[in-house]
Amino acid sequence: MGVHRTFAEINAKIKAGKVVVVTAEELVSLVEEKGVKQAAQEVDVVTTGTFSPMCSSGAFFNFGHSVPRIKFFRVWLNDVPAYAGLAAVDAFLGATAVREGDPLNTDPPGEFRYGGGHVIEDLVARRPVKLKAVGYGTDCYPRREIETVITLDDINEAFLFNPRNAYQNYACAVNTGDRTLYTYMGVLKPRLGNAHYATSGQLSPLLKDPFFRTIGIGTRIFLGGGIGYVVNHGTQHFPSIPDLPPGAVRIPSGGTLAVMGDLKQMSPRWLRGTSMLGYGVSLSVGIGVAIPILDEEVCYYASRPDRELYAPIVDYAEAYPQRRSENLGWVSYAELRSGKITINGKEVPTASLSSYARAREICQILKEWIQEGKFLLTEPVAPLPGPEAGIVPKTLDIRGVKGGRG
């Protein structure tokens, strides 16, 4: 029987300063050198990370009360609309909200220079942000408008709440059409001019614990430079196992995480307003997850190298916008990271949207936090649904309204 550890045993070692932590990259090399059995004996924790645009992100705020009081009906932060359909001075700002008056794609491709993601970056950078709101006036909230300046430290609460982050795996995007495409996967040149991918492969959290044996609801994580938590599986969490090519490790690919954390602890290095040409604004988010090596199986999956992890090649000219589930084949992260791949006999240069260098840095920071005893691991309070749950995507069909109150 191989090694067995519990979260409590690992935390005791962290507190005693005796824990052995390695980054995902270090674990890959260690296992190549000594094998899974030996590595699982030696290592207690492996750290993973990713830094990438993650559109399904945003933040909740409570701004405190003015004299006289106002109940927000509409609210803007640096002219970017936030959602005010909550209690009086609460609001939610989404990362992809675009500033009022932005030309959008009227003269395509639009530049989308400023939006919700940039407001969040400005706040964590401690830059002043203009708050504007209107109310309709009530007996208890008589004020009808307000315009003032806030900083992150002036307001009561601010927490990042991202409904879908840290995609387990993602498509490698290409364009077989005749014109340049401006997408959330970057600028895709015509006739297979380039291929863009978007995960950190062998460093990526959910590719390293693919069956969610250690990551679940309540898991403490590195989020935006501070501490955050997994609060649920993310939206569009479809962890089925795809039809992978030979040589690929057989794991699910559609897992996602919903995460939250105190914005006041975070930093602009790890939360970055992002502008995708012709597409819109977003927020690049840094996430790191520490995986406890509970046994050899956890060690095995956590140590799979780029050459065993595969991404599907998806055509954004037709298949993606028309929701066709076909792909142009699979490609390993080792090939993607080499700088070129071959599709239909054509050599195509590759580039990524997520920063491998920054992902590596997150692995390192999290490793140091654990070594210094500043970060303890948490046993999930509930697991995330895995492939056995058989979750399949629902589609949005177009039909007339009958019944209901619409």
């Binding site: 600028v187 040149k189 992002t274 995708m276 580039a351």
Partner: protein
């Protein structure tokens, strides 16, 4: 006449025509090629220093051949603070001035190889590439 610096962009169809030779021969210009990136059947780029009496005539000739001619008065700089080394610019840059260094996976910017086409300025999601006049 002081030399003028110009950026030329060639469509794929004329990338293999001897137009620089014509500039020297027919317009009596002195040409100093500062940067060049020409491949047969592909869009090409060249940065030239041109000296001579008939610079404007020579440039008009190029325009008639379908070459885009632009004076080189601008340069591109990278805001190191904003760059996250994502790499989204590396397959867009036509000259390889922005490229992944391996194995560090840091994105390097080689100003010498840059022809100021500004494609990266718009494509960079972090708005890290800036034009300086």
């Amino acid at each position: 006449m002081p030399p003028s610096k110009v950026v030329l962009r060639f469509p794929a169809a004329i990338a293999d025509k001897p137009i620089i030779y014509r500039l020297v021969k027919d317009y009596d210009l002195m040409i100093n090629i500062l940067k060049a990136n020409i491949n047969p059947h592909k869009e090409g780029m060249m940065v030239l220093e041109v000296t001579g009496e008939k610079v404007e005539d020579g440039l008009d000739y190029l325009r008639r051949q379908g070459v885009a001619v632009q004076p080189l008065t601008e340069e591109i700089i990278r805001n190191e603070e904003r760059c996250t080394h994502c790499g989204a610019c590396t397959a867009i840059c036509p000259t390889g001035a922005l490229y992944f260094e391996r194995p560090s996976m840091l994105v390097r910017f080689d100003g010498e190889a840059c022809v100021v086409c500004q494609l990266c300025v718009r494509a960079c999601p972090m708005k890290a590439m800036e034009v300086r006049f």
